[in-house]
Symmetry: C2
Subunit: 209 residues, 2 copies
Amino acid sequence: MPRKTYHHGNLKNALIQAGIAILAEEGLGGLSLRKAARRAGVSHAAPYAHFADKQNLIAAIASDGHKKILERFETIRVKYPDNPLRQLAAGAWAYVKFGLQAPDHYRITFSGVIQDEHSHAEFIEYSQRNMQVLREIIAQCRSAGVLDADGVDSELQAVSIWGLLHGLTLLMIQKQLPSQLIKTCPPKDIVLSALQQMARISINKRMLD
Amino acid sequence: MPRKTYHHGNLKNALIQAGIAILAEEGLGGLSLRKAARRAGVSHAAPYAHFADKQNLIAAIASDGHKKILERFETIRVKYPDNPLRQLAAGAWAYVKFGLQAPDHYRITFSGVIQDEHSHAEFIEYSQRNMQVLREIIAQCRSAGVLDADGVDSELQAVSIWGLLHGLTLLMIQKQLPSQLIKTCPPKDIVLSALQQMARISINKRMLD
DNA sequence: ACCTGAACACCGTTCAAGT
DNA sequence: ACCTGAACACCGTTCAAGT
């Protein structure tokens, strides 16, 4: 079914969605500008009207990943407005779940392909907002007395928790955890245990949802 | 300078070394079978005598990464034979340092491109040995009373510590930590703080070396 | 067993040209 | 402004043929 008009209408967004679909169906290796163009029903050169190069399409897909994570955080903050500890627990699990549900979208989001921050303003914007949300949740947990400050700088605490979740998510996605553990211990239990070890917080499995 | 003999002699290893060099000089995106072949001074089809496909060259490079990490662990275990806590601290920092020194080699080592474990026996072998070393160090720390067991399964403790180091390493490699933190806090301090939060161990900066 | 050269399908990118 | 088609350099992979 060919397009009715010469102009696509919203090719830029169509290419981003096509890219995300390719990631889901074929993984990182299957992503190409030409394939995204084919899916959007345009010629292989058309994407260059909207993206300077492949890198820029990837940056747009990565921005979308950050945006989706941000949306999940915001939903949780609205859901538990007076319970920062629960925001931390549920936010952490939502973050990991996004990685498990869309492994290659998650991977590309944090693939570090973004070189000059200048040409990827949107990506920088969203990633900083995600970091800011984590900072705020941790600050609220600390002032509510449900998270040990314990002489540790709160920025280092935030970065450590993020690093932990990021590392576990990737190890799970890429099936690099010991197979014996995977068989007996669902992802949720791994995240729960890791969070408890890291942050010394009293949370249970229910609080992750 | 062309080869003297028709046969290369050790082409397989030469291709692996060429690949590692390409990763260091041009990064992940620059790695191709043809380029590795060019560097080794053979035709672009020659690698197929030693690797079924590109994936298998990558698996060999990833195995080499695991091997190098394993060697560093073993050096440390020999250096501090009666001090498991120091083995943990110095081993952790050695792990992160490898990632910082050879970012793209580290990334490819844990890129999860290994699909069927059958065709990559060497990779599986080395990665399991690394996990086993971590398990042993943690077991020794726990029985020496320098690491809180605290009701947490030691396998989950090992995986959490690994996840933390892996996540932080990747975030640092890919420059995704807040730039303000990077400016004021060297990688070593980040790792030290993260380890202290995670494992509740009393270590100082000197013990990382 | 180990390597070469030609061949094919695919990709990123550019550019003159069309609407 | 937005898109097409031809063109070029590059890549992964295969295969018949050479040593």
